[in-house]
Structure formats: structure tokens, C-alpha cells
Amino acid sequence: MMSQKTLVMGVIGADVHAIGNKILEYAFKQAGFKVVNLGVMVSQEEYIKAAIETAADAILVSSLYGHGEMDCRGLREKCDEAGLENIPLYVGGNLVVGKTPFEEVEKKFKEMGFQRVYPPGTPPEVTIADLKKDLGVDG
């Protein structure tokens, strides 16, 4: 039996896209994770508070609506200040306004301190595999 890892997840900013969030929650639970789903319209502070309270192993940020770039700025730094220096940050969805080559988007978000950045349409299986690897869970 694997030790259960805890994920904090939610959709950042003023973003209300709820469908992917519900599906991801379902998929992560099926894959054996403990999931703290903050739903949509989550502020940076809410992620951090939940991560501390639940001693989470990773924070998964979704942004679909195009303001991801502005909404995600500073999250890494705030985590570090709150003592979450080692917590991995994942981000996925439609991260910027418009269709930008994914390499640029990835670079931008990695510079902002996200470990993993996912393009639109990434199936849950991919993230689950990455999570298991990164968090040392054997699949």
C-alpha cells in the first residue's frame, strides 16, 4: 500500500471554469491521492492556507480564462515566505490569452517558480504519472 499524498488544487483568480477542476479531482482521487479541492476563484492566500493546514505535498493551480500570467505572479515567493519552500507547484490549463507557442508559456511559468507546466488538453493520466514520480509514489 502506498502512503497517501495530499494535493491542494483549485482554479486561480477570477476564473470560474469548473468542469476541468471537477474532473481532475475525480481523477486524482481515483489515482489514490488525498485531494483538497478549493474549487474555482481561488486566491493565492487560500492555496497557501490550505496547503499549510493539510500539510500538502503539492499545489496544483489551474487557470483557463487567460489571466493566468497575472494571477500566478508571486505565488512561489508567497509560498516560500509562508515556509512552503519545498512544495512543488504545478500549473495547467489555457495559461495565457491567445495561442502562444507552448515553449514560451512554459518558460514564463517556470521562471515564475512552477515545477511543471501543462498545455491545454493534457489528459489527467499524464499529470498523475508526473505526480507519482515527483512525489515518490510507486505507480
Binding site: G13, A14, D15, V16, A18, I19, K22, I23, Y26, G39, V40, M41, Y65, G66, H67, E69, M70, N94, V96, V97, G98, K99, T100, P120, G121
Partner: protein, 483 residues
């Protein structure tokens, strides 16, 4: 305040107006008399209500994109392009998400950052920040009626500024711009705030200026059964009519099954007119809009063209008054103007090519219509029952009770107990009817439809079906068959 579906008292309206216009500095430039004069100078062919009424009479299906960027000149260029290259019959101005949340300061930052970056960092046009004059500049730059499209729970300031700014149509409603677009805002609050918007438009009507109002039909855009969106559309039409709105477009998001979609558009018009009539609003012009597939799109642009074209064909065959057009970039991000025009042109080709064909009223179509009618009547009548005859009160109690329930909605004021899934032919049915006030007959109908599919797919009825259906169109199917 005690919420009732009653015309807002003039004094209360005035009092709220003073507060609203102070929410952001641009509010002070709103002047009603000046706005009425301004509207009266707008040529008829640029007035939304007009064009829709004409299209309804002639049986035309008009096409309209979604579009909005942060800066005024870029936005004008965009609309020009969609009008000229895209052959749009009606234009939009889609508002950015910060404005929708009344976060005008963040919108202001977005404007500044966009100027610096040389590209739009906002996902829409921040009309409040730009103010009345710049809105008029936008409207004067084009030859086609322009609608404000958004998703704003509290749209009072936005309405004041954009209508004074010369826009002739305004999307939204106290339910349809809350449940899919908010998390923590109560329905009391949004219905009340939208009574204000509707009353504002009623006052314009009384001054001889007709502004088109469109409840947002597709809701969450994802497997919403027609009876749910129809019920919301009817209630919002009644609420709007009470405040004096006279020109209403009710909407529906394409589900993908031809018969169900045609039945939905036909019953939507029928039922809305019926209920308006029944509750004493007899001089309302009701038109319909079909939204091309509102759920997740295929990433591939050619495949997206297929989805777009199918929506266009269905709009024409159903005889919708207008169709809201997606773009081949839908799955990727806010489209370029070129991609937007491409979606429009594919749609234009089909609505004109199929203009002379209508889906014949067959036995199957009639059955489908009868189901939708029966379902919708159960919900709407129950709303009135719960509200002791008041649609506003009833709506709030109905959402509490799950008597009306929107699938996958983010709002905590939505019960979220129903589960939709497709039947074996792709029509959206209910795998779980939750607390919808359906007769045993209707509940059995849904169960049987889903079980028929389960038997065909040799699996049990389960949530996995729903997930498979959500991903299906992105993967080229309508029904999410097991792999």
C-alpha cells in the same frame, strides 16, 4: 430589501443609481437624457432590437461572434475585421474577467500592462474603465449593431456605462450570470442587481429607446439539458419583462443531437412566448439564439471547423434567429481576428446555404418537443408554486431545493445534484434527476434512455459515462463510448 418580482420603485432605483455611478470614476459621465438623444440618432440598421425583429419576420439566421481586447483602437480594428472580413451580421463586445468581477483596479492594471506588452493581457474589453465616450467611439466605428457580452454577476455599472455608450443589446441575467459565473454570490443579490439592469433598460424603453436583452442560454456549456436552460430563460424573461424590457432573445447551447437541438430551439421560443403571455406581458418580441457547441473543443482546427459547421447547420435547420459562433482556435485560447473571421465565414456559408431548408415537424421531433415542454413546465410551474406566485422568490427557493439545478456549476447556491449524460443517440438525458420536480413518467424515460446506452456499451450506468461524454467532442465523438 425584500426581493419580489415587481417593477423597482423609482426612488429606490434613483438611490441605487447614485451609488452605482460612484463605483468607478467613469460613472460620473453617464447622463440619461443625453444617452437617450444619442440612441435616437443611431441609424435603425445599427439597432439590435430592430435587426432581430426583422430577421425573425424574414426567417433569417444572423451570425454573431464573441470578441473583445483590452485597448480601444485594437478593439475597433477587431470589430471592423469581423464585420468586413468575417461578414458578421451582429457584433459583440466581450468584457474581460476582472471587470466581470467588478475588479476595476485590476482591469486598469491590465490596460496598462497591455499597452506596455503591445498585446492584450485581458481576455476582453474593460468597458467600465474606458467609459462612455470611448464606448461611443467603438459603436460609431462600425456599421453593425453591437452587444455587450460578459458574465457579470453585478453588471449595474457596466450596463449604465455601456448603454449610455451606445451599445444596443446587453447579455446576462440574475441567474444565468450568477450560477455559471460565480462561486459565493447569492441569488437574492444577483437577481436584485439584475432587476436594476432590467429596470434601466425599461426606462430606456419608456423613453423610446429599445435595448435588446439576452439571458445567457448555455449556462455552464456542458451537458446542460434543454429543460434546465429553458427554465432559466423563461424565468429571466419574466423578470426582465416585469421591469419593462420589450425585446428579448432567449438562448440555448447546442447539445449535438440534431432532433434534440431543433426541438430545443422551437420549444424555447414557444414556451417563452407562452409564459410571457400567461403572466400578462403581451407586447414582447421574443427571438432565439443557438450557441454553437459550448463545451470543450477539439484542439485540431480542421476538426473544430467540423464542430462549428455542425452548429451552423443546426441553427439554420432549427430556424434560430441568430447563432453565436465559435472559432477554430476555441480549444487553444482567445482567437486572433483571422481565426474568429474563419469561424464566421464557415457559419455564414451554412446558414445561407441552408436558409431554405427547415427540419420537418416529424413524429420524432414532436416527441422530443413534448418531452422538453413537459419537463420545462414541471420546473417552471414548481418555481411559481414555491414562490407562491412570485417568479423571483420561487427561483431562489427552487435553486435551494434543487428543483432547478445546473450541471457542473461553480456556485454554492446551486444544488449540483443532477447528473447529465448522453443517451445512445447523443441526446443529453439525466443519469440522475436529483430533485427536479419530474413526474415518474419523465424520470423513467430518462432512466430507460441511459440504460439503453449502458446495455449497448455493455457497462453499468456510472459517473464514468459523464466524464467520457465531457471529453467526447474533443476526441471526435458525441457519445463518450468506453475505449
Amino acid at each position: 430589501m425584500e426581493l419580489k418580482n415587481k417593477k423597482l420603485d423609482e426612488n429606490i432605483f434613483k438611490q441605487i443609481q447614485r451609488e452605482v455611478l460612484q463605483q468607478w470614476p467613469t460613472g460620473k459621465d453617464v447622463n440619461f437624457d443625453d444617452a437617450v438623444n444619442y440612441h435616437k440618432s443611431i441609424p435603425a440598421k445599427k439597432v439590435f432590437s430592430n435587426q432581430l425583429k426583422k430577421a425573425k419576420q424574414k426567417g433569417d439566421t444572423l451570425i454573431q461572434p464573441r470578441a473583445g481586447v483590452a485597448l480601444v483602437n485594437e478593439h475597433i480594428q477587431l470589430l471592423h475585421y469581423l464585420e468586413q472580413q468575417g461578414e458578421a451580421d451582429l457584433l459583440p463586445t466581450t468584457i474581460d474577467s476582472y471587470t466581470r468581477q467588478n475588479r476595476y483596479q485590476e482591469a486598469e492594471n491590465g490596460i496598462i500592462e497591455s499597452k506596455n506588452a503591445g498585446r492584450s493581457l485581458l481576455n476582453g474589453f474593460p468597458a467600465v474603465n474606458h467609459g462612455v465616450e470611448l464606448c461611443r467611439k467603438v459603436n460609431e466605428a462600425v456599421n453593425t449593431p453591437v452587444q455587450v457580452r460578459h458574465g457579470t454577476p453585478d453588471a449595474r455599472l457596466l450596463a449604465e456605462i455601456t448603454i449610455a455608450g451606445g451599445f444596443t443589446a446587453f447579455e446576462g441575467g440574475g441567474i444565468s450570470y450568477n450560477i455559471p459565473y460565480a462561486k459565493n454570490v447569492s441569488l437574492e443579490k444577483t437577481i436584485y442587481d439584475w432587476q436594476y439592469v432590467d429596470r434601466l433598460i425599461g426606462i430606456y424603453e419608456e423613453a423610446g429607446v429599445s435595448i435588446n436583452r439576452e439571458p445567457f442560454g448555455p449556462l455552464t456549456g456542458t451537458l446542460v439539458p434543454p429543460c434546465i436552460s429553458h427554465s432559466v430563460a423563461i424565468i429571466e424573461s419574466l423578470l426582465a419583462a416585469e421591469q419593462g424590457v420589450k425585446n428579448i432573445t432567449v438562448g440555448y447551447g447546442q447539445c449535438g443531437n440534431l432532433l434534440q437541438d431543433v426541438a430545443a430551439i422551437r420549444t424555447l421560443e414557444l414556451l417563452t412566448e407562452e409564459y410571457l403571455e400567461k403572466y400578462g406581458y403581451t407586447d414582447i418580441v421574443v427571438t432565439t439564439v443557438l450557441h454553437q457547441w459550448m463545451g470543450g473543443f477539439p484542439q485540431d482546427e480542421a476538426k473544430a471547423f467540423g464542430v462549428i459547421s455542425w452548429g451552423a447547420a443546426v441553427a439554420a435547420l432549427a430556424g434560430a434567429t441568430k447563432v453565436i459562433v465559435k472559432t477554430p482556435r476555441e480549444a487553444m485560447g482567445v482567437p486572433t481576428k483571422e481565426a474568429n473571421a474563419e469561424g464566421l465565414k464557415a457559419t455564414k456559408q451554412l446558414v445561407t446555404m441552408l436558409a431554405d431548408q427547415r427540419m420537418p415537424l416529424t413524429h420524432e421531433l414532436e416527441n422530443e418537443m413534448n418531452i422538453i415542454i413537459a419537463e420545462t413546465r414541471s420546473i417552471v410551474d414548481k418555481i411559481f408554486e414555491l414562490g407562491e406566485g412570485d417568479a423571483a422568490v420561487g427561483a431562489i427557493r427552487a435553486f435551494e431545493a434543487g428543483v432547478i439545478d445546473v450541471p457542473f456549476a461553480p456556485s454554492k447556491y446551486n444544488a449540483g445534484e443532477i447528473l447529465p449524460a448522453r443517451d445512445n443517440y447523443g441526446a443529453v438525458r439525466l443519469l440522475d434527476c436529483g430533485n427536479l420536480p419530474f413526474s415518474k413518467e419523465i424520470i423513467d424515460f430518462h432512466r430507460e434512455k441511459i440504460e439503453e446506452r449502458a446495455r449497448y456499451e455493455k457497462r453499468n450506468v456510472s459517473f464514468q459515462m459523464v466524464i467520457d461524454d465531457i471529453y467526447a467532442i474533443g476526441k471526435g465523438r458525441l457519445v463518450g463510448r468506453p475505449r
